[in-house]
Symmetry: C2
Subunit: 205 residues, 2 copies
């Protein structure tokens, strides 16, 4: 019998992906569901919907309430929160580095630290120095990781991830997809996605 599993699709610029990245490890461990971190780029997916930036910038009432909502949720969860400027940040380099780290044991920690640097401390994640500091701190080799991240085959892997997200029907982040292709959108659906993954493999209710 396969072990229950979900893919966690996120863009580093996504505010609610910060909350999901902070919660998913302990929740999935408790539920005994395997999680695969799948960074991708929302930019091309938003472009296909006719948006040239985050909908939170395009729709101001929605954007204002999103920041307030995030502040309230972070406070309830005991998470640091600081609004980064500008928003959204360019998440390209961070996503490429994450793809290098994920098969090598330091990827998930890197992802969580990038989210925390950006939305906890308001630091710019499009800058090499920010990513290098995180890489050092978690014991990865910054020079090697940043060089590998910029190699053509890795750039192509990120493009392929984004294409795959779009094929799965992903239209925002975070999204969770089970083995059968069941798609759940938003941090609020994390618990339901974990339950669904268990149900699919004949476990849980």
């Amino acid at each position: 019998m396969p072990r229950p599993a979900i893919d966690f699709w996120f863009d580093f610029g996504s505010t609610y992906s910060y909350l999901a990245a902070s919660r998913i490890g302990p929740l999935a461990a408790e539920a005994e569901v395997e999680v695969q971190f799948r960074p991708f780029l929302l930019g091309p997916i938003f472009s296909a919907q006719g948006w040239n930036t985050s909908p939170f910038n395009l729709y101001s009432a929605k954007g204002r309430n999103m920041w307030r909502d995030l502040e309230r949720l972070a406070q309830d969860a005991g998470l640091a929160f600081r609004r980064p400027e500008p928003f959204p940040q360019n998440s390209l380099m961070a996503a490429r580095v994450a793809l290098i780290g994920l098969p090598h044991g330091w990827g998930e920690r890197f992802c969580i630290e990038v989210f925390r640097a950006q939305f906890g401390d308001g630091r710019p994640i499009d800058q090499r120095a920010t990513l290098a500091e995180i890489l050092s701190r978690i014991g990865a080799d910054p020079e090697a990781a940043l060089a590998a991240a910029q190699a053509d085959d890795n750039k192509n892997r990120l493009r392929a991830q984004t294409d795959e997200a779009q094929r799965l029907g992903v239209y925002g982040a975070p999204s969770f997809v089970t083995a059968s292709g069941e798609l759940f959108w938003g941090n609020d659906r994390l618990e339901q996605a974990l339950r669904w993954a268990k149900r699919e493999t004949g476990l849980g209710v």
Copy 2:
């Protein structure tokens, strides 16, 4: 000390307002929070954002997943679900009738029955016959209610409700607003809004 209270802002055409309307009574009673039902029209608010229909129609991947999400949530909640055609329905007449009923004791029941007719049974809520049947069933006078609903002063009250929603920063439905003006968007935020209302009046955590 004032009793904790929230306003429940909704449009009858809104899918997630169906879920919220079905849950809010028991949850608010348990939390000892007073709820005021505030029907309004999303149409003018969507128009101001440049949308001529529901965003679930404008953005097809988002729309597809919304219907699937609604189906899953309704099933978990033991609620009937049937997708109405067309979507969204014209909610104008139902909102006008609700405004007549809310000060007279049958308003909340009417609202819940309209949502159930539409999203539980797929019935057209823009038709007089649907609303008349519901009014009869809940013991209101259909002819009197429908006539009062179409009077000029009632039409103006609905316009004023929609203006008030917009002033409060409401950009989607359902929304919940506490006495201090704290705005929560979406069925997923109902529990948090109730907790917030209690906290505001010095009760709860």
